[in-house]
Subunit: 439 residues, 4 copies
Amino acid sequence: MTRKVVEFPPRTTNVSSFERLESNVQSYANNFPDVFEFAEGAEIWANNGKRYLDFLSGAGSLNYGHNPSELKSELLKYIENNNISNSLDLHTKAKKEFLDALDEVVLKPRGLDHVVQFTGPTGANAVEAALKLARRVTDRTNIAAFTNGFHGVTTGALAATGNAYNRGAAGVELNGISRLPYDGYLGGDYNTVDYFEKLLDDPSSGMDLPAAVIFETVQGEGGHKVASDAWLQQLQTLCRKHKILMIADEVQAGCGRTGDFFGFDSSGIAPDIIAVSKSISGYGLPLALCLIKRDLDAWLPGEHNGTFRGNNLAFVTATAALNKFWKSGKFEAEISQRSVLLRQRLTKITEQHRDMISETRGKGMMMGLAFSDPELARRITTHAFQLGLIAERVGPRDEVLKIMAPINVRMDHLDEGLNILEASIEEVISTSPHSKFAD
Amino acid sequence: MTRKVVEFPPRTTNVSSFERLESNVQSYANNFPDVFEFAEGAEIWANNGKRYLDFLSGAGSLNYGHNPSELKSELLKYIENNNISNSLDLHTKAKKEFLDALDEVVLKPRGLDHVVQFTGPTGANAVEAALKLARRVTDRTNIAAFTNGFHGVTTGALAATGNAYNRGAAGVELNGISRLPYDGYLGGDYNTVDYFEKLLDDPSSGMDLPAAVIFETVQGEGGHKVASDAWLQQLQTLCRKHKILMIADEVQAGCGRTGDFFGFDSSGIAPDIIAVSKSISGYGLPLALCLIKRDLDAWLPGEHNGTFRGNNLAFVTATAALNKFWKSGKFEAEISQRSVLLRQRLTKITEQHRDMISETRGKGMMMGLAFSDPELARRITTHAFQLGLIAERVGPRDEVLKIMAPINVRMDHLDEGLNILEASIEEVISTSPHSKFAD
Amino acid sequence: MTRKVVEFPPRTTNVSSFERLESNVQSYANNFPDVFEFAEGAEIWANNGKRYLDFLSGAGSLNYGHNPSELKSELLKYIENNNISNSLDLHTKAKKEFLDALDEVVLKPRGLDHVVQFTGPTGANAVEAALKLARRVTDRTNIAAFTNGFHGVTTGALAATGNAYNRGAAGVELNGISRLPYDGYLGGDYNTVDYFEKLLDDPSSGMDLPAAVIFETVQGEGGHKVASDAWLQQLQTLCRKHKILMIADEVQAGCGRTGDFFGFDSSGIAPDIIAVSKSISGYGLPLALCLIKRDLDAWLPGEHNGTFRGNNLAFVTATAALNKFWKSGKFEAEISQRSVLLRQRLTKITEQHRDMISETRGKGMMMGLAFSDPELARRITTHAFQLGLIAERVGPRDEVLKIMAPINVRMDHLDEGLNILEASIEEVISTSPHSKFAD
Amino acid sequence: MTRKVVEFPPRTTNVSSFERLESNVQSYANNFPDVFEFAEGAEIWANNGKRYLDFLSGAGSLNYGHNPSELKSELLKYIENNNISNSLDLHTKAKKEFLDALDEVVLKPRGLDHVVQFTGPTGANAVEAALKLARRVTDRTNIAAFTNGFHGVTTGALAATGNAYNRGAAGVELNGISRLPYDGYLGGDYNTVDYFEKLLDDPSSGMDLPAAVIFETVQGEGGHKVASDAWLQQLQTLCRKHKILMIADEVQAGCGRTGDFFGFDSSGIAPDIIAVSKSISGYGLPLALCLIKRDLDAWLPGEHNGTFRGNNLAFVTATAALNKFWKSGKFEAEISQRSVLLRQRLTKITEQHRDMISETRGKGMMMGLAFSDPELARRITTHAFQLGLIAERVGPRDEVLKIMAPINVRMDHLDEGLNILEASIEEVISTSPHSKFAD
C-alpha cells in the first residue's frame, strides 16, 4: 500500500506539551497551530487572546456554533442536579426525553417508522453497526460503496471509505466492499446507477449481490460532491427491486447541514438505516446513533455494545437542540437565507477566478471552492488562518476549500468570514509567482 | 456462525418510550429494568424514587463513583466560562492541562516514555488504532490474541475478541488474528507462554509472526481471569526476543480498577502500546487514548482520525481525577483497604457455597464469584436488583457474578451491597428446587 | 451468497456406475449423457457405437482434435522406452526439449524475453501462481479483474472470476480483487479504460493501486466477448504508466484458438505474465505454465510447488505440437480458412434468426451465437446432441451457443457440424410454442 | 511476511536450457542437478548414463516405482486404440472402469459409502474442493488445521498449510483457518485433542465453530510426524459430538505409503471427506479426487470445475494399479516386509548417531531420520546424490532426511540405497570439522 507523505509547517513554539506528548497523528492542529481556549457561536479565541471565525465547525459537529446558550443552560442544570452522566445502555430520564423529542421532531413528521440504536459515540461506530446489521438481515456479505465516500476509519467502516491515505494505514486487507462510481463520476451524461443495474442483472458481473449500499447525499471528505435527488430516487428504486438495503451516512450531511434536517429530505427517499452523529448532540459532545427501519431491527441484546452509548450529557443537549431548532420550519428558513448568501458570494469568487477555481461545490451550508491546484488552496487557508479565519480543505487531493460555518451563523459573521476569505485569495494570488497560477 | 438466543424477562411497563423507540440491541436495560435519574458515588436513584447501590459502575467507566464532586465543580466551571467543548484534534488549554497531568502523574513516575494518541472516544477505537499502528510499524498482519479476551466490537477489534455472541454479529470474516491460550487455559501446570514460544520457533507452525500480542491483565468480560505477574514477564521476554509488540488493553483493568493505576503495574512490564478508556475521564464521559512508546509513533497526520477525539469536557474531568486521586500513594491504600475487605467477604461466600461457587476470581476491585450454573448467577443478580443492588454477570457463559463497586466506594456502602448480595444468594437458594442446586 | 439451482435432465440409464459413484458436481456429463470410448480429430464415439462431432473440444484443451497422430506416435515411443513419466520439477530430457521448442517457436519470434514456470497442471493453478507473483513483485495486494472474466475455481483464482454460480460455492470471502468493466461493458461509446484511469488518478476513488490487471483477450466462459486491439493497447499504456503488471489469461484463448498462437498477438501488447494451459500439451494432457518476463521472476525455490509440474508425457506431446503446427505460418492460414467459413455461416444463421439471436460473437475459431433466450440455446444444444453434435453454451446465463471445433477441423466435418446445428435450430423452433419465441 | 532465503549450490553447466528458460521457482532440480531420461522401478538414469536409486519417488507420486510394467502395457494399449485422452467430466469407459475398481477394491471393503469427485488433477485442488464442500454443507467458514500440516499452495489450501516459506509467497491474507497443535505438539503427556475440546466448549474461546478439521495421518512435509490411532479416534469422537466434518488429507500418506491403502486404516476412523492424489494413478500421472460421504455430496453441477478432471490416461493406470496391487492382502504383506527392514536399519543408524539424530520418524514406507542440525542433513543428502541416491529432506527446517522408496521396492535395491545412505553419513561426518558435530 502506497501512502502520500504530507509536509506540514513546523509547529509553533508555544505548544511544547503537544509537541512532546501528543502523537504525530494529529492533523488539524498542524494546519491551525494555536492553543484555543474560549468559543461562542462562530467565534473562537486562542489563549493568547487572538480571535478567529470558525468556519470549520468541528468538521460538522458544531452546526449550531460553539456553546449555544440554551443548550448550555440545560447542560449546566443537568450536571448541577447530579443527574446521571453515564448509563451504559440503561434507561434514563435523559434518554427517554431525547427519544421522545427525536420521535416528535424528526421521525414522525417524515413518516419514518425507525427505531433508535445508540452505538459507540462516533460516526464510524454507527457505520460499523449499520454494516453489521445489513449483513445480518440479508445474510449477504458484500456492501456497495461509492468512489470518494468517507465513512470512518475503524476497520469495517474504513473498508467502505475511499480515501487512500486512510486506507493505507489499515494494516489489514479491507474487504467486503464493491466500489461503485458516485453520481457524475463517469462524466458526461453517463448515469452511474445504470452501471450498478447492469452489474446486478449480470450473473457473472463479479459483483456479489450486496447486502446494502452505503452513501452520503453530499460527500464531505470526498469534496462536497452532491448526489442529485433524481439519482437518489433511481438508486432507491434499484435497491428495492433487488432487496438491497439503503444506508444513508448522514454523519456529516445530516442535522441541518444541507438545509434540511437530513441530507436526503429533498429527494423523498426513505433509507433503511440512517447513521447519525456529529451535530446530533448540538454541543459537540460525542453521540452517535443508527435509525433502523422497525422490521429490520434484528439485533440480539448486546451484540453490538460499548461503554459510552449512554452519554447522557449529550442526550440533554441533543434534546434541547431538537426542541429549539427543529420544531417549526422557521429554522430551515434561517439556514436557507444564509445558504443563498453563501452560494452567491462563492459563485462570484469562482467567476472572478475561473483560471484557478473550477467549481462552486455543495449544498446548503456545506459549500466549497474546487481549486485546480491543491497547493493554492492550501496557501489560501494557511493565509486565512493568519487573517483570523479557520477553514479547511477536503477532496481527493485536498483541493476543495470548504466553508462549513455554523448553519445559524450570524449574518455579520458570515460576511466577515467571507471577506477574510476573499482577502486571503487576493493576497495569496498577488504574491504567487506569475507563471504558476496564470496559465 | 451460530448464535445463542438469550431470553430476557419482559420489560416493565413504565418504559414505553424505550420499548417503542429503542432497538432490541439494548442489553443492560433488560437486566436492570428501571428508569434512572440521579446518582452520586455508589448510589443511584430511579425516577420512581427507588434507591440502588451501583456495583456495576458503568462497566468500569465510573471507577470513582457517579458524579464525584471535585470533578463536577471543575466541569461546571469550564462549561460556564464558554471554554471549548469540541475541538477535533486542535490544541486547547484543556488538552494541554490533561497532557501535562498525565505526564506528571502517570507516565514519568513509571518511566514510560510514551506519547498520547487521542482516538475516537471508545475503547474499541483505541484498540483499532493500536492494532493499526502495530501492523504498520512491524509490516506484519497477524496479531496474537487470547482466549476469552474482549477488545470491542468494531470489525478490527472484534477480530481480537473471543466472545462468540459478539463475533456472530460481525457479518464478515474476522481475520488477521492468531488465538492463543491465556494464562492457565491449558490447565494444570502447563505454561501457555511455552506453547506460544514453540509456535514462534517453528517455521511451519502455521502461525505467521505476529505484529503484536494484545492482552488484558485481568480479563473483564472474559470472567475476571487474572494473568500472573510471572506470566506477563515471560510474555514480555518472548515478545522482545521476536520483536513482537505488546499491546496492553487497559480499557477495563486500568485506571485503578485492579489496585494500581495500570493493571500491569505489579508485573513490572512496560507495554509498547497501552489502550486506555472507560474511567480515564473519571466522570463517565467518552474518552479514549493510546499511549505509544515514543519511537513507535509512526503515524502520519490524520491517518487515524475522528470527530470526537477532542472531548474537552472529558479532558477537564480527567485532569481533575488524575490530580485528585493519583498524585500520592494515598489513594492506592484506600483501594487496597476496600479490596481486602471485598476479597475476604467473597471468599467467605465461596467457602459457604462450595457446591455452587467454584472460585473467587479477580484482583483489586475487579472481583467476582464463579458459579457452576450460569442460571443460578442470573437469578441471584435479578433478585439482588429487586433488593436494591446492581451487579452484572460476565464470563463465557455469564456464569461469573462480578462485583465492580467504585474503587473508592464508601465502606458502609460496600458492606451494604455485599449484605444484599448475601441475602440474595440465600433467598434464591432457599426458593430453588432442592434437586437443582443440592447435588 | 445466493446460488441459482439448475435443473438438468434425468441421467440416462446406462450410466449406473456414474450415478452411483460419482459426485453431483459433474456437469458436462449431464448435458451430454453418453459413455464415450474412442475419438479421433473432431469425431468421438460412444461405447454403443454412436458417432458424434465434437465441437466442444475439451473446452479448448483439444485444439488439434482428439489424438492427433504425430503427437500420438511420439507419446507411444516415449512410454515404450521407459522414459521418465513424472519428475516433480527435476530436469528431464523431455522438459528440455519442450523448453527449447517453446523458445524457438513461440518466445523468440515474438521477442518475448520470458522464463517458464511449470505450475500445477491446471489453468487455475497457473493463475494462482501469476497472482502470487504479481503481488510479490509489486508488494501490493489488489488485482484488477473484469466483469464476466473466468479464471478458475481455486480460492485465489475464483476471487478474480466473475461467475456468481462458481463464486457462490467458495465458502469464504473472495477478496483482493477490484472489478472493472470489460471492453464494451458500459455500452455505447464509453471507453472502459477511461474509467480505470479515473479510478487510478483519484486518491480517494477507493480502488487500491493494483498489483496487476488480469484479462482474457476473448472471454471464454464469459460468452466469447472480444477485447479490441485498441482497448488492449490503451490498457497496456495505462498499466505501464502506473507500473501495474498485465497478466494475460491465455488458458482458453491461447494456443491458436483465436487464429494466432496467443489471443493478444494481433494487438501487439506484451503481457508481463502469460498463463497457458488447456491445449498447450496438444493431446489433452494436464499441463499448465506461466510465462514470466525475465526481470519479474522473483520466485524463491519451491515457493509455489506441486507434484505434477513435471508431467513429461505432456511435455512430449507439447513439443511435438509446437514443432508440427507452429513452426511456419502455414498453420495460421489453415485456421484462418476455417474461421472465415465459420463466421460466414454463423453470421448467416444470425441474420436468419434476428428475433432470437442477438449477435455472432467471438474471434477465430472461438465463435458463438448469442441467443436472447437461454432456454432456447439449451434446447438447441440438447437436440443437436441427439443429432450427433456436441456443442456447449457459455455466457452469464448460458445464452451463447459456442462453436469450439478443433482449429484444424477437417472442412467436411466443419460443414457437417454446422449443418447439424442449423437443423437443430430449425427443428427446435418449429416445435416451440409460437408465443414463446415469436415476439 | 518474513521469508527465509535459501542458498543452493550453483547449477551444473549441462543444464543451460533450464538456467536460461526456467523460472527460479524450481527446487528439487537445485538439489538433484542432473538431466534425467530413463527410469524403471527404483532406478533412474541421467542422460549422461549415470544411474541413481530414487528414494524420493516423485514425493510420493510413484509409490509403485517408475513405469511399472503392467500399468505401462495397459496405458500403451489404450493410447494405441485411440481411446479418449481428455474428457472434461464426460462419462468414458475408462472412468467407469476406474470407478468400479475403486468401489470394489477400496470403498466396499472398508464400508465407505462415499462418492467420488474428480477435481483438478492436483492434491491442492482436491483440498480446495474439500474445504469448499465442508463450508457449504455446514454453513460455517472456519476450518481447523494443524501445526506442521501441508495441504498445497493454492490460496485456499495454503491457508491450511503451516509452512511459513510457502505462506510467505501468498501475497494475500490467508484466512478462515484456526490452527491447532498436532498430536504430541504440546509435549509430554498433554493430549492436544483436550485443548481442541476446551476451545469448542468455551463460547468465548475465540475459535469459531469449525466446518471441518483437516489432517494428515502422517505429516509428510511436516517431517513425517505420526498421529496415533488413539488420537485420531478421540478426534473423531469430538468432531462427531460437535458435527465438525473430518477431512483426511491422504494425498501423501495414502495409496499404500503407510502400509495400508489409507493412512487412517489402522485407526478405524471414517473421515467424511478424503482427499486423494499423488500415487492414485500409479504411474505418476496427474489425477486427484475427493471421496465424499454420500449424504454430504451437496455440490451443484459444475460448481467446482476444471478442464483436466478427465485425465483418462490416469484412469487407465489407476485401474490397473488397484487391480494389480490391492485386490488381495498380499501386497500389504510385501510393504510390511520392506517397512520392517527399513525401520530396523534406520533405527540402527539413529542409535549409532545419537548425538546427531534425535529420532527415527514415520510409519510404513514413510520414514525418516530427524537430525538435530539441518545443515548436516543437507550435506548428507547432497553427498548421497553424488554416490547415486536420491533422497530429500522435509520438516520445519528441512532437518528430516526422508526415505521414500517405492513401497514395493526390490529388496536388493532397498539394501543398496540404505548402504549408500550409511556411507554418505560416515563420509560427511568424517570430513566435518570436529567442533561442529561433536558437542
